[in-house]
């Protein structure tokens, strides 16, 4: 192509229309309405429309994954004063039903939305559950049993008493499943680690037998980690000193061989709490030390070589304690780290090399002190933060879910949204209220416009007005009082 050809081509083109003022504003509200501001704001909105509604190549925008509005599980004081001091396990079933298992009770929801149904369960210190369809099974202590609950129906399906091991006070149960096999480990305050197995879906269990012993006073922290991976059964625990001990069985728990666990440098402290999960053949282990360091290790060779990960959270970033049962989970190749007091969950999509904070607690007010979490087979994350605010406790549920983008507004709706977002900048309060109510009436399809407008404005007042409309649409609290724990509360 010659220079003249290029110039000819240039001269036969023109700038694409700027995404401003594609059509004049037809409404004028308020005698003193700043016309120019409205015009510019409308132009800004049309820019957004250009981005959202006309993606390059005309492709439909994919579904997005984001945190849905939180819902309340419970705010009843008696639910939250004593019982929540115990262990909690959050779980979701394949159909989307959710359960939060706590000491002596659990809360159930068919779809993760309010209201949640509370049912009493005998026993406390529940194990991490096994999920099959809509049922979850777990062990409890005090009443030493294997309990199965249908989450969708909201009822206990079966209770199986387990043979009591000859040990001191039972403190922490662990459960794993493969096919019809169920594997259980129960730990006592004196240090014994007892193993049981069922080969018939938990209906009958063999006699418990001791397979290892932790150091004295270690059990109070629920410190061992029990794991079923493709490489067999793993049991990690802390004995005396700073060593992480490990037992591994490749014959369904018949025999257990000692495996050397990762070693921890003296300056990092003594290991206190261990949590483990597996992604394929790789076993991931997270360790909290008494120097308030949180460390991550992984081994892909049956535990012969432990590779330290990048995770090394320090004192001011962690707050795990006896209640922090949910610390490490995995799903869809993703690692999830939660149960860190006051901190949002973290995920790693590269086997622990890098970690990213999830903005799961955005918008939530109050002091979050416990965050059980669950990661599904599709990598979606759910959390159940417990928080304190103004001397009250709240137990919430929030999920990070795939949300299909809503159908775009039609031309009329789009024009209305653009105009009304522009009118949110007006000085006249009645005009603003009218604009807000018209935007709320447009509903979910107007959300992309509103979210983008919010993201791109730096004016705090305009941000507040946009947030208010977003809250009213997205959280569906158009008329009711906003919950105190949400940032939109007055």
């Amino acid at each position: 192509m010659t220079r003249d050809d290029v110039e000819l081509l240039l001269r036969s083109t023109r700038p694409v229309p700027a995404p401003f003022l594609q059509a004049p504003l037809s409404r004028a509200r308020g005698a003193g309405a700043p016309r120019l501001q409205l015009a510019l704001a409308a132009g800004f909105l049309l820019a957004i429309v250009g981005v959202i509604l006309a993606p390059p190549g005309g492709r439909r925008a994919p579904a997005e994954r984001r945190w849905l509005p939180p819902v309340e599980i419970s705010t009843v004081d008696e639910d939250l004063s004593m019982d929540v001091m115990g262990c909690q396990e959050l779980v979701r079933t394949s159909s989307g039903a959710a359960a939060l298992i706590s000491d002596r009770k659990m809360w159930l929801s068919r779809d993760g939305k309010a209201p949640w149904k509370k049912i009493e369960i005998p026993g406390w210190h529940p194990s991490a559950p096994v999920v099959e369809g809509d049922t979850v099974s777990f062990l409890t202590l005090a009443v030493w049993q294997y309990l199965t609950v249908d989450v969708a129906k909201g009822e206990i399906v079966s209770r199986v008493r387990l043979p009591r091991p000859s040990m001191g006070k039972q403190w922490t149960p662990y459960l794993a499943a493969s096919g019809t096999d169920r594997y259980a480990v129960v730990c006592g305050l004196g240090g014994p680690l007892m193993f049981l197995r069922s080969a018939d879906d938990g209906r009958t269990w063999n006699e418990p037998r001791e397979i290892a012993r932790t150091g004295d006073n270690q059990m109070f922290y629920h410190n061992p980690a029990f794991l079923l991976s493709p490489g067999g059964l793993w049991l990690f625990y802390v004995s005396e000193g700073r060593r992480i001990d490990c037992r591994r069985s490749v014959d369904r728990g018949e025999t257990w061989a000692a495996v050397e666990g990762p070693s921890i440098a003296a300056e990092l402290g003594r290991p206190v709490i261990l949590r483990a999960t597996a992604i394929g053949d790789t076993v991931h282990l997270v360790c909290l030390t008494d120097q308030h360091r949180l460390l991550h290790f992984s081994a892909a060779d049956g535990g012969r070589t432990w590779v330290p990960g990048s995770l090394d959270l320090r004192e001011n970033e962690i707050g795990m304690g006896p209640r922090s049962r949910t610390i490490l989970r995995s799903g869809a190749g993703r690692l999830l780290l939660s149960g860190i007091y006051g901190a949002p969950p973290r995920v790693s999509d590269d086997g622990g090399r890098t970690w990213k904070e999830l903005d799961a607690l955005d918008g939530i007010r109050g002091d979050v002190d416990l965050t059980p979490a669950f990661i599904g087979e599709d990598g979606a994350v759910s959390i159940a933060p417990r928080l304190s605010l103004n001397s009250r406790n709240y137990l919430l549920f929030r999920e990070w879910a795939e949300v299909p983008r809503s159908a775009p507004l039609d031309e009329r709706g789009r024009r209305s949204a653009e105009t009304n977002i522009a009118h949110l900048s007006e000085d006249d309060i009645r005009s603003r209220e009218l604009a807000a109510s018209e935007l709320v009436a447009l509903g979910v399809p107007a959300l992309p416009l509103l979210r983008l407008a919010l993201a791109q404005t730096s004016d705090p007042e305009r941000q507040a007005r946009l947030r208010d409309v977003l809250r009213r649409i997205e959280l569906r609290w158009p008329d009711a009082q906003v919950p105190e724990w949400w940032q939109g509360a007055r």
């Binding site: 010659t2 220079r3 050809d5 081509l9 036969s12 083109t13 995404p19 401003f20 015009a39 800004f44």
Partner: protein
């Protein structure tokens, strides 16, 4: 083309529109805005390579235009000059640097008349983004901004001959990048 020329002749001048706007005629500013928005937006895009920043710049430019007197010179030159200064200020912010990385994937220019080869148009859009800033600026101001070389040079603050050579280099570079019909 002829209709456009007639429109230009019969339309009120920029100065008339701004005068009417300051006199309270809101519609006159709309007309003024429409007249320049696309060209200014392209120039802002070429300066920032960031749609969001470009929108802000154009808005800010019009605000300045509405508030200031352009003097006796060309109003188009005045607008491009204001936008250029604003873009320099903005480029100093870290935010701009960060957002610039998210370069535009959308088209910058489109066919002004039927018969333009879509492939050539696509190629031109790609090629424009590869031009050095100074050359791109020359093309945008001269071709799309409808400024003479002297006016464009005034906007940028360089001698007119420099502007002409930048424009020539830009054409050469575009010709080198674009393959043309097989």
């Amino acid at each position: 083309m002829g209709v456009e020329l007639i429109d230009r002749v019969t339309e009120p001048s920029d100065a008339d529109l701004l005068k009417a706007h300051r006199g309270g005629d809101a519609a006159s500013f709309d007309a003024f805005y429409r007249r320049y928005r696309d060209r200014l937006f392209l120039y802002a895009r070429s300066r920032t390579r960031d749609d969001g920043a470009a929108e802000d710049l154009v808005n800010e430019t019009f605000l300045r235009a509405a508030q200031s007197a352009a003097g006796s010179g060309s109003l188009a030159s005045f607008l491009f000059t204001v936008l250029r200064r604003l873009s320099i200020d903005r480029a100093r912010s870290e935010e701009a640097l960060r957002r610039r990385e998210q370069s535009l994937r959308t088209q910058w220019v489109e066919a002004a008349a039927p018969g333009v080869d879509p492939d050539a148009l696509e190629e031109l859009n790609q090629a424009l983004r590869t031009l050095p800033s100074e050359q791109l600026e020359a093309v945008v101001l001269h071709v799309y901004g409808d400024l003479t070389f002297a006016e464009a040079a005034e906007v940028v603050g360089v001698p007119p001959k420099t502007m002409m050579s930048r424009y020539a280099y830009a054409l050469d570079r575009l010709a080198g990048i674009m393959k043309g019909p097989p």
